[in-house]
């Protein structure tokens, strides 16, 4: 009957396990391939500045002379253009979420 | 592959007549857009019928270009014409519903109005001033 289609669904879900993950008590299962936090490998970087040029928001700033690579985590949109552009494969996107922050600092790597 | 589209430039005086012909032949209004070129304001009226696109082009000169409204023929045009008035300072006469410049709330009036992008001057009195402390004059 017209009213009872929903009743069947509702009763089914009363006895089923909830779909939601009880985070943080249950661990978060990240989907592989998801675009998350940017990871920088300082060892292979040659400070060529290509990643900074490709970055659409200006989150990455590279100072070539001082050999400094900085990123503003709050500006990064996890698009992955820098990862594609880097000739030395120093950048990678992990599936982690960025930590919350209350200040707009830049993260520095290098001297 | 790109589907065919036609662009036709017409003078302003024939606009209402051409739009009326389109309406009678069963075309529907797709959009009315404008481009600010260095020496003129270029309007594009797009019509569609059975997935074919026909565009009418108008070139308007002058600081405050005028155009008659087509909202008497296509009522839905009033939205596009109000938007063009708010963004480009296009004067449209006989609008079916006229918002008189209050359609969009922009910080700068007529953002596309001039050829050079307008620079918003910081106003002396800030709109969202911090609340005054209670000890000050109420």
């Amino acid at each position: 009957m017209a009213y009872f289609k929903m009743t069947r669904v509702a009763l089914k879900w009363v006895v089923s396990k909830p779909v939601t993950t009880r985070y943080p008590f249950e661990p978060r299962v990240a989907i592989p391939g998801s675009r998350g936090l940017l990871e920088f490998a300082k060892e292979t970087c040659v400070y060529c500045n290509v990643c900074a040029k490709k970055c659409p928001t200006g989150a990455i700033v590279v100072q070539r002379a001082q050999k400094r690579w900085t990123i503003d985590r709050l500006l990064c949109i996890n698009c992955g253009y820098c990862v594609e552009a880097c000739p030395k494969k120093s950048l990678a996107l992990t599936t982690a979420h960025g930590a919350p922050s209350v200040t707009k600092d830049r993260e520095h790597y290098g001297a | 592959m790109s589907p065919e589209q036609t662009f036709e430039t017409i003078p302003v005086e024939t606009l209402l007549e051409r739009v009326r012909t389109f309406r009678e032949q069963g075309w529907r209004l797709v959009q009315i857009g404008a481009t600010r070129l260095p020496d003129q304001l270029e309007l594009t009226y797009s019509f569609d019928r059975e997935n074919r696109l026909a565009n009418l082009r108008l070139a308007l000169l002058g600081d405050q270009p005028k155009v008659p409204s087509v909202s008497s023929i296509f009522w839905c045009a009033f939205l596009y014409e109000n938007e063009l008035h708010d963004l480009f300072n296009l004067q449209v006469s006989d609008l079916a519903i006229d918002f008189q410049g209050h359609f969009y709330k922009t910080a700068v009036k007529f953002p596309f109005g001039t050829t050079k992008p307008p620079v918003a001057k910081p106003t002396a009195a800030a709109t969202f001033a911090a609340p005054q402390p209670t000890s000050a004059k109420a």
């Binding site: 017209a2 289609k5 509702a10 391939g33 | 959009q31 997935n51 839905c76 519903i97 992008p117």
Partner: protein, 358 residues
């Protein structure tokens, strides 16, 4: 009889995005509705003066969160038509698949919101539960849940491997079963029919004259679906527009329910026919020319008027989104309705105000 003006929005529990309507009400009947938009106007059309045409794909994707992929796809199609870039067939198929996944998640989102507007919260939660499965597929294949980031000029950025495609098909089986349950409730439940049937009727002529697009137009009997233009891989797939004739809110709901099944079918067809090959070509030079790119978003026809003059920045980008075209229909349909029907009517045209006001 005294008239009252009731302001509806911009903050309202039923609205997904802020829009303001001044409702002139007499007793419980709405006489007139005056729309007022501009709360999410970000001036994205003016941003073309700053961002060059390659970077602008990111901005185009972010015009809207729900229909984001097809915005990016239309922009790419426009620039590719101006520059005559031959996009590889595999990329076209991938774009089609992601476009249809985008349509799936958008319609499921709308079904949830419609249930919520009627107060049917548990059905809202169920629709979004099914939508989560679609978002998981999208995240596994593109990396992002709503902003896909996978379309670029000249092709796409990521590929779908064979095993990922197999997993997608298996997931789509479960999703289709869930959607069948869900649409069964939407189209048969008595309380939903009481709220939707006969509300907000748009006749065939009225819908066409008012410039409606998308499901709003198709529910009134006009079989216009821009996927028949044959962009992307649609020239190889068969698309039959889903239409209804009644033109009321129930018909619009039914059209969107049927389009869910159509999208799943299209994804299956595209996965089966997808050729092997490259996924992108390199783009050099600057665009010069003008083109109007049109695609079918979940809400209707979107038009990107792109004018380029040979420099790195486009001269003009004008986006005409489907909700902008459906707004006159909303104003017309609100005249003479009951006050309690206003949320249902506002949602029935599927408002995506951030698209409307870029």
């Amino acid at each position: 009889m005294a008239r009252t003006i009731i302001p509806f929005g911009p903050q309202h529990p039923v609205l997904p995005e802020p829009v303001h309507l001044d409702l002139v009400v007499e007793d419980e009947r709405v006489l007139e509705a005056r729309p007022s938009i501009g709360f999410v106007h970000r001036g994205l059309e003016k941003l073309v003066e700053k961002k060059d045409f390659i970077e602008f794909v990111y901005v185009a994707e972010r015009i809207c969160g729900i229909c984001s992929f097809i915005h990016g796809q239309t922009y790419c199609q426009g620039i590719e038509a101006i520059m005559n870039i031959p996009v590889p067939p595999r990329a076209l198929y991938l774009r089609t698949i992601w476009g249809e996944l985008s349509r799936l998640h958008s319609h499921l989102l709308w079904l949830g919101l419609m249930a919520d507007a009627m107060g049917f919260e548990s059905l809202f939660m169920h629709s979004w539960r099914v939508r989560e499965k679609v978002l998981n597929i999208i995240e596994a294949t593109t990396g992002g849940r709503v902003i896909f980031g996978s379309c670029k000029l000249g092709g796409v950025r990521r590929d779908i491997a064979a095993d990922a495609a197999g997993k997608m098909l298996a997931d789509l089986e479960t999703i289709e079963r869930d959607i069948r349950d869900l649409t069964g409730i939407f189209l048969a439940d008595r309380s939903i029919k009481d709220r939707l049937c006969g509300v907000g009727v748009l006749s065939r002529e009225a819908a066409y004259d008012l410039g409606c697009v998308g499901p709003t137009l198709r529910a009134s009997g006009v079989g216009q679906d821009l996927r028949q233009l044959g962009y992307a891989a649609f020239k190889d797939l068969e698309v039959r527009p889903v239409t209804r004739t009644e033109g009321d809110s129930f018909a619009r709901c039914a059209v969107r329910c049927d389009e869910l099944f159509q999208s799943i079918d299209l994804i299956r067809q595209a996965l089966a026919k997808m050729p092997a090959g490259d996924i992108a070509v390199k783009v050099t030079g600057n665009p010069n020319g003008e083109y109007l790119a049109r695609t079918e978003q979940p809400r209707g026809e979107v038009v990107y008027q792109i004018k380029a003059n040979g420099t790195k920045n486009l001269q003009r980008l004008r986006v005409r989104t489907p909700t902008f075209a459906n707004l006159p229909a909303l104003v017309k349909v609100l005249q003479g309705c009951e006050l309690a029907d206003v949320p249902v009517l506002v949602l029935t045209i599927d408002p995506c105000i951030s698209c409307t006001e870029r």
